[in-house]
């Protein structure tokens, strides 16, 4: 039996998988949406069109709930490597530790230093300064994604290091940072965040149009969003294909698991080129009990030739093979979602070409709107599936081909592992259900109670009788007090 599937190791994997899966629910929206809010803010400042401002302030409410959930679950992540994977953390410290240090200093804190200004700074800082704050939130969260992907990609393709004295010591920083997997893996993840945020925009807009609330306003948003998606969704498919071919070269076991590809050659000695639509791997993990197979497709996908050789599981000893079930199916779900979202983008722009992308015509044919509302949830599932494919496909290694997962697990009792798991099930589900409940509340409330942007800087005239002593000796107005901007309905 593969050691990684024995109870203590499996539980420690579950401990980490759970907190990571529940954290990746939040970060993509922060990363993608902060740029979209930046674009909305620029649009407002350049055109003076109040509608962009309203939309910005509305989606900002969703962003800050999302951000709170991201921070709540993210602080744990920064500590969890040492807690759950102590020996791993010690061994990878010279590279991976450095990179996580870079992330906290140049990204996590950078973001925290500007998110307050972005959300609560309206009217307290100048418009230019506010735009600068929004820009910094966008840049810092993207930087964060970059560093985390550097660290994770390096676990997939650990380049630029040598194992000495029990530590992975860096021999070439450039190769370690821009490792094989990172080159495609980071763009794939970053574009996923943009695609998710765009679909959240589209989904919420479609819901409002469907409900005939502020339908014209949200149609105005839906148009450029769908146009952007027409570019983003196919680019993401292309990036995904590139990641796949990279994995085929650098992590053949992972690719074989993703495709349920056990036999490199067919019994008659020819290259096995078949791609499985559905497969049931057997219990010994050395073949499929049942599969629906299309010849040549696998070779086409991975080598871009009809009969190219794709290495199968049979080329590796049983103890080095990952499980197939999760990578195989989660990979297929992710791909299906990727193509479905591309189709939705095509559909929307085709409607626009025919002049039907206006609130009235859209409501006459509500199936498009329903499909878009539904599409807002799919990127979440796709991102989950992608990461499960990636992480389970790498097993039984924590650092591919160099450190087995069981070698990196902390010295914990089963009780501790269960304690962690149960505790985090409670807390992560509280975060998740709370955030989604309040998303729905904010959306249900709508945009109507967002005051005009004129009120942002006029509060100085309305009051002026605040002469209290100021903490820090500086001049400050209790702007919260008189600013309708930030009233209870925030």
């Amino acid at each position: 039996m593969v050691l990684e599937n024995t109870l203590p190791v499996l539980l420690s994997r579950m401990d980490f998988a759970w907190i990571t899966s529940m954290h990746i629910l939040w970060t993509p929206m922060t990363i993608g949406m902060s740029w979209l809010l930046f674009i909305l803010e620029v649009a407002w400042l350049r055109t003076g069109d109040e509608r962009w401002y309203k939309l910005n302030r509305f989606f900002e409410k969703i962003l800050i709930i999302n951000f709170g959930a991201g921070v709540a679950t993210g602080v744990t992540m920064e500590m969890a490597f040492g807690i759950l994977y102590g020996p791993f953390s010690q061994a990878v410290g010279p590279f991976f530790g450095n990179i996580l240090g870079f992330e906290t200093i140049t990204a996590f804190m950078y973001e925290a230093g500007f998110i307050g200004l972005m959300v609560f700074g309206w009217g307290k800082i100048s418009k230019g300064m506010h735009l600068f704050a929004t820009f910094n939130v966008g840049l810092s969260s993207s930087l964060s994604a970059m560093w985390i992907l550097v660290a994770n990609s390096w676990m997939q393709t650990p380049n630029g290091i040598v194992l000495k004295d029990g530590l992975f010591q860096v021999t070439n920083w450039w190769h370690a940072i821009f490792n094989d997997n990172f080159v495609w893996g980071f763009p794939h993840m970053w574009v996923a965040t943009v695609e998710l945020a765009l679909f959240v925009f589209a989904s919420v807009s479609a819901w409002f149009i469907l409900k005939n609330r502020n339908a014209d306003l949200f149609t105005k948003l839906l148009k450029p969003t769908l146009l952007a998606l027409l570019i983003v969704t196919p680019v993401q498919i292309w990036l995904g294909d590139s990641v796949g071919r990279d994995v085929a070269m650098t992590q053949p076991t992972s690719l074989a698991a993703m495709e349920g590809h056990y036999h490199t050659y067919l019994p008659d000695g020819k290259v096995n080129t078949g791609w499985h639509l559905i497969a049931f791997p057997n219990a010994q993990n050395d073949g499929n009990v049942f599969a629906i197979t299309i010849p040549h497709v696998l070779s086409l996908l991975e080598t871009h030739t009809l009969n190219g050789k794709v290495t199968g599981m049979d080329q590796f000893p049983a103890k080095d093979r990952p499980d197939v079930w999760v990578p195989f199916y989660s990979f297929r779900v992710m791909v299906a979602i990727g193509f479905f979202l591309f189709f939705v983008a095509l559909w929307g722009n085709w409607l626009r070409l025919r002049g039907k992308l206006n609130a009235e015509s859209l409501r006459k044919n509500p199936w498009f709107l329903r499909a878009v509302v539904f599409s807002g949830f799919l990127p979440y599932l796709a991102i989950w599936c992608g990461w499960w494919t990636r992480e389970i496909g790498r097993q039984p290694w924590v650092v591919f081909n160099l450190m087995r997962t069981y070698q990196g697990v902390s010295h914990m009792s089963l009780g501790q592992e269960v304690f962690w798991f149960v505790g985090y099930i409670i807390f992560e589900l509280t975060v998740w259900s709370g955030a989604w409940y309040f998303f729905s509340r904010v959306i249900a409330k709508g945009v109507d109670n967002i005051p005009h942007s004129d009120t942002l800087f006029t509060h100085h005239n309305e009051e002026g009788s605040h002469e209290e002593e100021k903490a820090g000796g500086g001049f400050a107005k209790p702007t919260f007090a008189s600013k309708p901007m930030l009233d209870k309905s925030r």
């Binding site: 050691l3 190791v9 709930i65 709170g68 921070v71 602080v75 920064e78 500590m79 490597f81 040492g82 807690i83 102590g86 020996p87 061994a91 410290g93 010279p94 530790g97 450095n98 870079f102 906290t104 140049t106 996590f108 804190m109 950078y110 925290a112 230093g113 307050g116 200004l117 609560f120 700074g121 029990g166 010591q169 860096v170 087995r404 069981y406 070698q407 990196g408 697990v409 902390s410 010295h411 009792s413 009780g415 304690f419 962690w420 807390f427 509280t430 975060v431 309040f438 509340r441 002593e469 100021k470 903490a471 820090g472 000796g473 500086g474 209790p478 702007t479 919260f480 007090a481 209870k488």
Partner: protein, 363 residues
């Protein structure tokens, strides 16, 4: 000759990161300590309006304050991964509680404003989280002061069929789940809650307009916790002297007079804070109070020198190899003042005194 130079460089750089680590932890306890303390105060708030006002008072910067802990963790991982990977393993249980407290607070901040029916629930999540976080962190700190057992060949223990491997060259944590637990570590948990409570009282006094209900109660709260905190400091010092030979040896060694002067300065700071507080110069009182925290923190780190974890990890043996440390120093040191600058700016933007009503209604 060459290797001697390299080891001197490593020694200098690792000490440099030890100092920055000390500063980051200090920023966390000084800044978030006040926020956490205000949350503990909110545990005794009569209504949701007050809890909401307290949360609103730090809405613009709580996240930045809390993130100093993450930065400290990141520096620990980046410069001293051996400590990160063994001490956190050792402190799994107290850290889990602290992290759960942090989670509760973080979401309560964003949810409380939107809630209608569940306002009470999120108010309590905020207050309880604010107690749990410093308690867990305090227990973890006490546990770290006690040191912990380490061994080679421990990584694969407990996994049947596992065998010795290259990674055993590094010593790993070798104790049990409750090794951290002792009367002293439980006490430091309470000590952290007391210290946070005092800082929170000083912060609320400085944040709310004199005469406001919150200010009035925070004033009494601060008076009470000043006394409790002074008692707690004495208890902690005497207890540490009794059970930590490394501390006792330093305090009563050849340089005993340095420590004596240090204590007198701390008492002076505490006195200044209390008189400023009595005279309603609340922001000044807060600064003197934070000064006490800083001086105590520096004294603790100086007592532990040259160890990061007493008699477990020395600064040099725990640090990354020279190459990693050099890269970390080159690329990250410059960001430290930048981080402090923009955090200061963010706090400065949201400065000023408020009333409970204005703060709550304005949020």
């Amino acid at each position: 000759m060459f290797f001697q130079d390299v080891s001197r460089i490593v020694g200098a750089l690792s000490t440099w990161w030890w100092l920055i680590l000390c500063l980051m932890f200090l920023l966390y306890i000084a800044l978030d300590g006040a926020d956490l303390g205000a949350g503990i105060f909110a545990l005794f708030s009569p209504d949701e309006e007050e809890r909401g006002a307290i949360m609103a008072s730090m809405a613009g910067f709580w996240d930045g304050n809390e993130t100093w802990l993450v930065v400290a963790g990141g520096i620990l991982f980046g410069a001293f991964p051996s400590v990160y990977g063994s001490a956190f393993n050792y402190l799994l249980i107290p850290l889990a509680f602290a992290l759960w407290g942090i989670i509760s607070r973080a979401i309560a901040f964003e949810f409380h404003v939107h809630a209608i029916g569940s306002k009470r629930f999120w108010g309590w999540m905020f207050a309880f989280g604010s107690v749990l976080a410093p308690f867990g962190a305090g227990v973890a700190l006490g546990g770290a002061l006690q040191g912990f057992p380490m061994a080679h060949h421990i990584a694969a223990e407990g996994v049947a069929g596992a065998h010795a491997n290259a990674f055993d060259a590094v010593p790993h944590y070798a104790g049990g789940p409750f090794t951290f637990l002792s009367p002293f570590s439980i006490w430091t948990g309470f000590g952290a809650v007391i210290a946070a409570s005092l800082a929170g009282g000083l912060y609320l006094c400085a944040r709310f307009v004199p005469g406001d209900v919150i200010h009035e109660r925070a004033k009494k709260w601060t008076n009470a916790f000043s006394m409790i905190a002074l008692a707690a400091i004495v208890i902690t010092l005497v207890w540490s002297y009794a059970i930590f030979p490394w501390a006792a040896a330093k305090w009563t060694g050849a340089n005993w007079w340095v420590w004596l002067i240090w204590i007198l300065v701390i008492l002076g700071f505490a006195y200044m804070s209390m008189t400023a507080h009595a005279a309603s110069r609340d922001f000044v009182a807060l600064l003197w109070g934070e000064g006490v925290v800083a001086l105590m923190w520096f004294a603790m780190w100086a007592t532990m020198f040259p160890y990061i974890v007493p008699h477990t990890w020395g600064i040099q043996e725990a640090s990354n190899p020279a190459d990693s440390l050099a890269v970390f120093t080159l690329f990250m040191t410059g960001f430290v003042p930048i981080m402090i600058l923009y955090n200061w700016y963010q706090i400065w933007v949201f400065r000023g005194r408020y009333t409970k009503k204005a703060m709550y209604a304005g949020h």
